[in-house]
Symmetry: D2
Subunit: 422 residues, 4 copies
């Protein structure tokens, strides 16, 4: 996004959260932002959030139900997001908005307020593919791919996880061999799984062990340059959650990648972990958006649904406690994510901080959504109340990019100095 575009977009949109911010300013409690996190955001960040929210509510919300039912991700969404400057929003240059990490987090929050799958589709493009290229690519690589990725004209994916190595990517089996005859060419072989957007990707950022050194290196695989049978991306269907996103495998069998598509300097897990940390920070924001949507829907339902002498469910103590607990978690989680995003922009964030907020916000979003789902009683079974979709999504979100327990052990190690993985 160039900033002027953003501004234009913003001006033409109503700003739904203005009222909310006014309340906080005058010391009135706003259930949508109980601890007035909006006070911590700049005008630009709030404008970007508004742009994102408007788009998400207007354009994504109407299609999510069908997309989820049919496991059908609309490829055009990336282009729409690209037009608004929502992709790679915190990258400077290369057609990106150069917004703050907080702004980028707020975009994630707005997208995930609609659906975690839509946020996943955006995350893989922005935080994994684009961040990888931006952080580790040569200037040429950046110039070549970032602008089209930012516009959503190209779709990128990120191949790290393997079928037998989920929480422990260092044991990966995918290998990059030098071509026996063609100099400056690598042949990639191996399988990656649970890869968001792989079936529709134009580019895949694939991590593989260099045969000669045994060290992990990053490669940008261009689908169009792969001969048939060397790069296959079968769809994984019948998922329990994130059904509005598309997920697949990457099966590589001697897939040729020129040396100029390799990241020159980064080696080992530093590369993928940098990307994952960027994505995890986005998830810490995004999960709070999903939880907030659950709160808003449960609150509305509790006010409309009447049982026992015409009282709204909202009048029951057990219902109020569920709302209070979830609202507290959403408020706390937003503050914590904002703090780490600010620290990141100040060069002071650490991976453990990101582990903490990814873990906690996902855990609390999942727990909160489940508890709020109880308010809907039997009606929760209907997907038209949306809460069941959030619940199913949030379980996957808690699980991917570091399952809760794994991040717990990362924190445990950071606290005690002793590792307990084995």
């Amino acid at each position: 996004m160039n900033r002027s575009l953003l501004r234009a977009a913003t001006r033409s949109f109503a700003r739904p959260s203005t009222a909310a911010r006014r309340y906080a300013s005058s010391g009135v409690f706003n259930w949508e932002d109980p601890l007035a996190a909006a006070e911590l955001f700049t005008e630009e960040e709030l404008a970007i959030q508004d742009t994102a929210r408007q788009y998400c509510q207007d354009r994504l919300m109407p299609r999510v139900l069908e997309a989820y039912r049919k496991e059908d991700y609309d490829r055009r969404i990336l282009e729409e997001m690209g037009e608004l400057g929502l992709l790679g929003a915190s990258i400077e240059g290369y057609g990106c908005a150069g917004a703050s990490t907080v702004a980028s987090g707020l975009i994630n929050k707005e997208v995930e307020r609609v659906d975690s799958g839509y946020r996943s589709g955006m995350s893989v493009q922005s935080s994994l593919a684009m961040t990888g290229i931006y952080e580790f690519g040569t200037e040429e690589q950046k110039q070549r791919w970032l602008p089209d990725l930012a516009k959503g004209k190209l779709s990128g994916c990120f191949g790290l996880t393997e079928p037998n190595h989920g929480s422990d990517p260092g044991s990966m089996e995918t290998v990059a061999r030098e071509h026996p005859t063609q100099k400056g060419m690598y042949l990639l072989s191996g399988s990656k799984t649970w890869i968001t957007n792989s079936p529709i990707c134009d580019l895949a950022l694939v991590w593989a062990k260099l045969e000669s050194t045994g060290k992990i290196k990053g490669f940008i695989v261009e689908r169009e340059r792969c001969p048939p049978g060397t790069f296959e991306t079968p769809v994984l269907k019948n998922k329990n959650g994130l059904r509005a996103s598309i997920t697949g495998m990457i099966q590589m069998d001697g897939c040729p990648v020129p040396a100029e598509n390799m990241f020159p300097d980064v080696e080992g897990l530093t590369g993928p972990f940098t990307c994952l940390n960027s994505a995890r920070l986005g998830i810490a924001f995004g999960s709070m958006g999903a939880l907030e949507d659950c709160i808003a829907r449960a609150r509305e339902y509790s006010l409309e649904r009447k049982q026992f002498k015409g009282n709204p469910l909202a009048k029951y103590q057990l219902v109020q406690k569920k709302l209070a607990d979830a609202a507290t978690d959403a408020a706390y989680g937003t503050l914590a994510a904002t703090q780490v995003a600010r620290l990141k922009d100040a060069g002071k964030a650490t991976p453990e901080m990101i582990s903490m907020i990814k873990r906690q916000n996902c855990d609390r979003a999942l727990t909160g959504s489940r508890i709020l789902q109880e308010i809907f009683g039997g009606n929760a079974a209907s997907d038209e109340y949306h809460i069941g979709r959030h619940v199913s999504n949030l379980f996957v979100v808690q699980t991917y990019e570091g399952q809760s327990d794994i991040h717990g052990l990362i924190l445990g190690r950071a606290i005690t100095g002793v590792q307990a993985f084995v």
Copy 2:
């Protein structure tokens, strides 16, 4: 079921749990039955459980995945269950097995070990429709319908819940008016929702308020005798759980029911609550079957899946704790359900006891399944691991036939003598 059939079936089947029982007998810990509940069952009860288990694993398990994906319930299942004597198994006479309440509970457990939706389809037939007719019907009504319901030739459903009255059925709006001209005929009007099996039912046990008295009465509605437009049962699609069962509404608009199809004596909520209590007791058993399946699957996965230096997940303390917690809940819940079933057969069970075990076993099954799901990490998203299906089902199971909080308030009232619904 006539007993001889059951015996025959039993003899010809391997008995998979024999080994389990032998272990317990010699004082060896059996993780599938940690507190040796099998010691509490008679030989007949164990034989019935074996019959049910064999059928469920052989015939239901292979089709559940597709059924769940497509929300497609196979009507023939009722007939298959009928052939084995699994329907209305605790009813004496009328072609039913006359087994103990424990035996009936164990059938529920085995069916729900495969899928809560299949158990729901059976419960509505056995505990709701058949129990209603058996407990409150005239001898003529019993003779007329129970044998074919027991065989699964007729399919029954149970119309109590209305769109605006979930937890508070006493406020129902469905009404039965005397026909203006036809003596001995009632016209039923109103809507029922979340009715398992309604779209495929031949008979619907419908509860309605008699216009003349305002008292709730039970009517057996025969679909084939209803003129077009008076009795419609549209399917409710796109459910979040129980997708292997079929659910619908019942929309009645002057649906004619002869007086001889009304239960003569029962009035008010006694009728439906008696049926619900029977179903709830079955759910208390059934939910433990689903939880046990989750334990078995998580255990197996944890032994096969290796991460970090080739250790199976089973070696990790955090994984072991999840398994230990869930196994404890399954063992405790089975004992409690068995106790109440025995008390019921001795005429000593109370509705509050059933509230307690329905609530607790559903709560713990849901919690346990969710925690065990974490063991599967990202792979949990694939429906082929089955655990996600149980998780989604068990949420609905916790919700229907008395949501957890409602049963909590029933218990609270029983403990304190003070009601807190309003």
Copy 3:
């Protein structure tokens, strides 16, 4: 106890729980026994429970507050219990009652209904010291000590845990050396800690490694035969819980024990673990007694305390939920403990079963007592409401004789076949 004494005692006492049993018999819900566990007990067991309850409420309840405040255990309690036959109640012969394991469990429940510390004082005498001698002692050892221990004339303690080896007793450092000159005499050296009753013990059942073999053996140390400085039992004061029991260390420095005081055959951890399993089974019952007392007190408080327009706290949904949850856990835990006690008498109980019920019942009793404590609001801070005492006690009870996590890992190992202690 000889049985006739028990009977006599029983006859002369009112039976407070008769009414409760009558309710259950007629199918009325009894909040004190929600799942009618009393139906599982024999007349004799119920009579023993009544005897114990009467004694505990009449004689222990009035002194517990002062005892707890001053950390002052009254040594005469053992004699009083001995007179009633409550000590070593499940031992056959040697002046013991020869009651069932269930009866013994119910005694534990009644004592712990008053205070976990009083139950601890009894457990160490019955389950640890007496069970050890009964199971592993020679006939001569049994004849010599069991009758006086049963009467409470002698006080025994159990020395296993060491300062540096809590959860892992196999690493104990206490050693038994053969006397350099006196044949048939051992010299014990080492420290034991957190030993209930050690400061007032006449006998200490001490586990030590035989220097010559490195194997753990059990010794009955008679205090009166120990020269000054060889056997010291300093009191441990200022405990956070179990303050109505007395706890100390055992410090041995060349403490002489004749070979005839050694258990001849048992070796390794089999000996102490057998005793601990007996004690743990008692704890599984006892903790439910403490929880039931918390329920009764919280219920009473909630009915008497009025807030907001004169409503009793019992009318609030959040209060009712706490009571319902705790009552459920007490009912389930009692059933599970009963099942394992029955299995034990049938020779079918396993240590893992005991781990399961010790862990779960302690966990739930602790959690339940804490949640019920909230009902008392600020008044909970006063010890006169007793609930704070239970809370503090139950934490220790959850911790000793196998902390919850340790039993969780024992279960995890039993379920998976993989150990995760290291």
Copy 4:
């Protein structure tokens, strides 16, 4: 405090948290401040925190164990705190430091890191008595009492809660009658209970209903002016927690208070609730201090204590999870409290925000301390590990100044617009 004094104190003290701040600045994870909250504090705030911490660790820590054991609060502590400027620190003028609300919160955190009772003793002086006079007193009242209260020469207490009206102070029974003969004089009668510092108070800020209007008014009762028998403050002993603070009743029987000791303008619950909100904000900080102390102690214990093949407890996954969870809650809670403190200084805080952070931080501190206590196993029973004291304290802290459920219902009302108290 005058600021120069504070500065002097600061300069002469080592600053223990400097290293911690440096880590955060360079992007190194600091387990004592995982989300780098220190980045949000000004230099002055950090200096004040250091002063407080130094005092608390040097002067309070050494006496807390005996104080707690003996329920013996040292009156001189108020003077010591006064000397350092820690009392009423956020009040401008009248000898107070005029520090920010964050600074005041950090003082609370440091005091409660040692003991919640010490923090309570300070809170009642600062947030309740001094804040009340500062917010609602006449200029003359402020001049007369605030300086000596700030120095700790006078001790104040706060009489709101009555024996029969804990969560619902609006129903108070204490009454202020005009003196029948002496004009300008009121006679106060009634009882207040659970009043921190009442037995040692010189002044009591008492809330009573004016007989003539039925409206609640605030009175400053001066003990020295009360004839014998009109103002008694008996100590409440044998508390379960907060034993290092002193608690009592206030029994007034025609206690004479001149009209000039009444707050002129404030009426109803606005007065006491303003004070309580100030105290609650302090508790939101303070409870995090107690939790952080539990974390530090549990961490240290887990590193020193070795079990099973010489591994420190810190190596066990189940232990690491406890530490990670608690550290997360401490970090989140500190951020949230800081946010609300900043909002308060900006005039944007609302009572519901304070309800949220008081509730959540107390809940999480209590839960965290209990879970960490498990790491100590049996040794937790010894008060020398301090964790048991925190656990007992934090239960009371969760309960007073609005029990968790009450704040939950306040939030529920704010979220839904429906009240559920009755």
